[in-house]
Subunit: 129 residues, 2 copies
């Protein structure tokens, strides 16, 4: 069984963390057969941590876990902190295949998405709110 | 002439700001006739600010400017700080139509993009680094 752990920075603002959790619920519905389980994890300021998030997936039966950084820029969090947490999870679960996916900002499709958002806004009359 | 100002938080790490500027150069090429000019703006820690970024677009001939928050979560920056900066830009350029687009994290297409990134990773053998 394959699980996806979407990792956000984590915020002192509970609503921001809940926004990530809601995204994961939506992903769970859209993932179909690809991922049986989609969970949120946080680098800081919210729970679960990356190792704990991976552990939760393993307890639910995951033999493979993909960790995906929900980050826009390739800063220290993406290049150092998240890989270090993933190493901790690997050490704790040597029998589980734990892979680190590219961070969201690395996706070339981001530009098309931004242009679509900008075009929507540019064509409206602002009356929707 | 219509311009797009992509607004990031801004970072002390120059490479993160340059990553946003590089994205805007890519957007400029992909925008075609929709936006004649695509620029980066920053809420904090980098230049130009939102009002200065709008002013740069206006100096280049923009009669319409779309401001798009390059943010994943609907925190205070998206709900209060960016709208306040956009109001300053509107006050400085009352003859220019300045619209605030939805923030990136609000795009429903984000989930499909995440699943595509996660699937790529899951099928690779990790040898690409």
């Amino acid at each position: 069984m394959k699980a996806l752990l979407v990792v956000a920075h984590g915020s002192r603002r509970a609503a921001s963390n809940d926004e990530v959790r809601a995204l994961c619920e939506r992903l769970q519905k859209e993932a179909g057969a690809e991922f049986s389980l989609v969970r949120a994890g946080f680098l800081d300021l919210a729970e679960p941590s990356i190792p704990e998030g991976v552990a939760q997936c393993v307890r639910r039966g995951a033999g493979q876990v993909v960790v995906l950084p929900y980050f826009l820029s390739a800063g220290r969090h993406v290049s150092e902190d998240i890989p270090a947490e993933v190493e901790k999870a690997r050490a704790a679960h040597p029998h589980v295949a734990i892979r680190l996916a590219p961070y969201l900002g690395a996706a070339p499709e981001i530009s098309g998405l931004l242009l679509a958002l900008a075009a929507d806004s540019g064509e409206g009359d602002g009356s929707s709110g």
